[in-house]
Amino acid sequence: MAELSNAQPSEIVLRLAGVQKYFGSVAAVENVELAVQKNQLVTLLGPSGCGKTTTLRMIAGFEFPTAGQIVIDGKDVTYTPPNKREIGIVFQSYSLFPHLRVSDNVAYGLKRRGVPKEERVQRVREALQLVDLGQFGDRLPNELSGGQQQRVALARAIVIRPKILLLDEPLSALDAKLRQRMRLEIRHLQRQIGMTTVLVTHDQEEALSMSDHIVVMNKGNVEQEGTPSSIYRQPKTSFVASFIGETNLFKGEIVHAANVDGLLVFRADCGFEACIRKADNLEPGRQLLLSLRPETLTISPSQGEAEASPNALRGTVAGINYLGARTVFEIKTPTRDLMVSVQNDAGSEAPVAFVEGQTIRLSWTPDACQIVEIN
C-alpha cells in the first residue's frame, strides 16, 4: 500500500460537478462542486441539515443525484450501484454486523470479492493490527467499547483497499477525550496508508484539525473551500466567519482613508471604528462585515504606558471564563461587547490578571481585521 502515498499529489480521484439532489420538492443539495485529490483528506463541514450526509450518500451510490455528475478515477459513476463503486464507508453508528465476529466483520468485503481464504486471513490480520485490535478478532461487536467498534468499522472499510474512504460523523458518538484521540489516530492512519478520504462533520474543530482541505456547506451549497488555515483566517462570507471558530462580527462600511500608512477606517453601524489594511476592492461607502477573532485582541491595564497602535479603545471587564489553556473575557466597550481570548501562561499562578469591573485597554493590529462580504 506504500506506493499509494508516492502518487502525484495533483491527481484528482473524485469529482462532483453541479450535483443536486431533491427529495420531492425539498432541496437537500442544491449545487455542489468538489474535487478531491489523491491521498487527501477533504472535509464537508456545515450545520445540521445542510446536505452533508446526502452528498456523501451520493458519492457512495445510496442516492442518485437529481442533476449533475460524479466521477471517480476518471469514470462517470453517477448512476453506478454502490456495490460496484469500490468505496469504503464508516457510518456514525458504526453499523457492524452484530452476528459476526470482529474478524468476520472485517473479512466480509473480501469474501464478497472472492479473495482466497489464505490471503483473506492475512489481510484481515493486517487490517486489525493497523487499527490496534490484533487481539480482538474473536470478539463479537457488542463485546467491544465504542472506540473499538469504531476502529473495527474503519478496518472493515479499508481492508478492501477502496478508492475512496467515506466517513460520516465517525466520531460523534464518542466522548470528548476519545474523540480527540481518534481524530489523531484516523489522521495518522490515513496518512500512513495513503487513503483518499471524504469526512463529514459539523464539528469545526474536528474539521480544522484533521483536514487537508475543507469544504464549508450551507443550505445545500458550497459556501467556501480551502485549507483549514485559509478558511479560518480568510472567511469569505459571514456564515463561514461565524460558523468556524468564534468571532466578533461588525456590520458597517468603509469611510475615507484616515491616514497615510495605507490604512482605511471601517465604521460599524454601532459606532465602533477600526483601522484596516487598504485593499483594491474596498471603496468607501460599501456595506461590509468586519470580523475580529477573539485571540487577535490584546488586553492591557488602562494605566500602563500604551504602545502606539492605530486600534485601541477603553473597556471594562464584564465577564471572565477560565478555560484552562486560555481565558475568554467579555469586554464592555462604549459601542458594544467584545469577546477576547487570552492564552494562559503555563508558569503563572494567576492566569487571570484582570478582575471583573476593571477598566482595561483593548488593542489590535490592522492585520487582525478581516473584511467579509455581505451576501
Partner: protein, 285 residues
C-alpha cells in the same frame, strides 16, 4: 439467598430498618404481584390437579389419584387424531404465517408509500375483528369456493389469524435494525439480495423465530374460527375437546388440557433454546 443478603448488609441494617415503615410501597407491590400471579396460575393448577383425579366426575379437589384419564385420552382414537391434526396444522401455520408475515413486515418497513399505515392496519385487522365474524365470513367464503371442511380451508383460516402476531413482532425487530448495517454490506460489495441474506436476515432471525412460535401457539389453541369450519378433517384437539365436554362430565378434558399446556411449554422452551443455539451458530459462520 435472603440470609446471605442480610449478613452482607448487616453493618448498615439497623439504620435502614429503623427508617423504613412496616408496610411501604415495596411490600404492597409484592402483595399485588402475588395476587396477580395467583389469579393467573390458579386455573391452570386446578386443571392440572384435576387431571390426576381417580373420580368418575369432574370435581375439585379430587377424592383420589390416578393416571386413568391420561390412559383414556391416549386410547381415544378421535382425540388422538385431533391431537395429530392440531400439531400438523400448527406447524404448517407457523411456517406459512412466519414466512408470509415476515415478508410483509420487510415490505412494510421499507416502503415509502403513504398507504403504508393503512397496509399495516390491514395486516393486524384479524386481531380486532370478532372471532365469530371472521369465522362466519370464512364459512361463507370457503363454502363458495367448495373448500368447506378441508384442511386447506383450516390452514388458510389459521394463517390469517396468525399473521398479525408475526407482522407485529417482525416489524418491531426490523425497526430496531439499523438500515445502515445493510448499506455497509452493500458498500463492501454485496448485492442487495446478498446483503439481505447475509446480514439482514441473521440480524432479525430471533424475531422471526419468536413470531413463528406465536403463530404455532395461536393456531394450536384456536377454537372459535375452527368451529365455523366443520368437517371430518377439521376436528382439531381443542374442538374435539369442546364437543366432548358437551356430552361428558368426566375429568378427561383436564388431562387433555394438561397435555396442551405441556406441549405449549415444550415448544416455547425448545425454541428458546434453539434460538440461542441458532444465534451462537450464526456467530461462528
Amino acid at each position: 439467598m435472603q440470609n446471605a443478603d442480610r449478613t452482607i448488609a448487616s453493618p448498615v441494617a439497623p439504620i435502614t430498618r429503623a427508617s423504613r415503615p412496616f408496610l411501604d410501597s415495596r411490600h404492597l407491590l409484592a402483595v399485588a404481584n402475588i395476587l396477580v400471579c395467583s389469579f393467573l396460575l390458579a386455573p391452570i393448577l386446578i386443571v392440572i390437579v384435576t387431571s390426576f383425579s381417580a373420580d368418575q366426575f369432574m370435581q375439585f379437589p379430587p377424592s383420589g389419584w390416578s393416571l386413568r384419564w391420561y390412559v383414556e385420552f391416549f386410547n381415544d382414537r378421535r382425540l388422538m387424531d385431533g391431537l395429530l391434526l392440531s400439531l400438523a396444522l400448527a406447524s404448517v401455520t407457523a411456517v406459512v404465517a412466519g414466512v408470509a408475515g415476515s415478508l410483509a413486515a420487510f415490505a412494510m418497513t421499507r416502503m415509502t408509500s403513504r398507504f403504508g399505515g393503512l397496509i399495516h392496519s390491514l395486516h393486524t385487522a384479524p386481531l380486532i375483528t370478532p372471532g365469530v365474524v371472521t369465522g362466519l365470513s370464512m364459512l361463507i367464503f370457503f363454502s363458495a369456493m367448495g373448500l368447506r371442511g378441508s384442511f386447506t380451508a383450516l390452514l388458510i383460516g389459521h394463517v390469517v389469524l396468525s399473521i398479525p402476531f408475526v407482522v407485529i413482532i417482525v416489524v418491531a425487530g426490523l425497526q430496531s435494525f439499523d438500515k445502515s448495517i445493510e448499506e455497509a454490506a452493500i458498500s463492501l460489495g454485496a448485492s442487495r439480495p446478498v446483503a439481505f441474506l447475509t446480514v439482514t436476515i441473521p440480524a432479525v432471525k430471533t424475531s422471526m423465530m419468536s413470531a413463528a412460535v406465536f403463530a404455532f401457539l395461536n393456531s394450536f389453541d384456536e377454537v372459535v374460527v375452527t368451529l365455523f369450519l366443520p368437517g371430518p378433517r377439521t376436528k382439531t384437539l381443542p374442538v374435539a375437546m369442546f364437543e366432548y365436554i358437551q356430552h361428558n362430565l368426566d375429568p378427561l378434558p383436564a388431562a387433555i388440557s394438561t397435555v396442551l399446556i405441556a406441549i405449549a411449554m415444550l415448544v416455547v422452551f425448545v425454541t428458546a433454546r434453539f434460538g440461542t443455539i441458532g444465534r451462537i451458530m450464526g456467530q461462528r459462520l
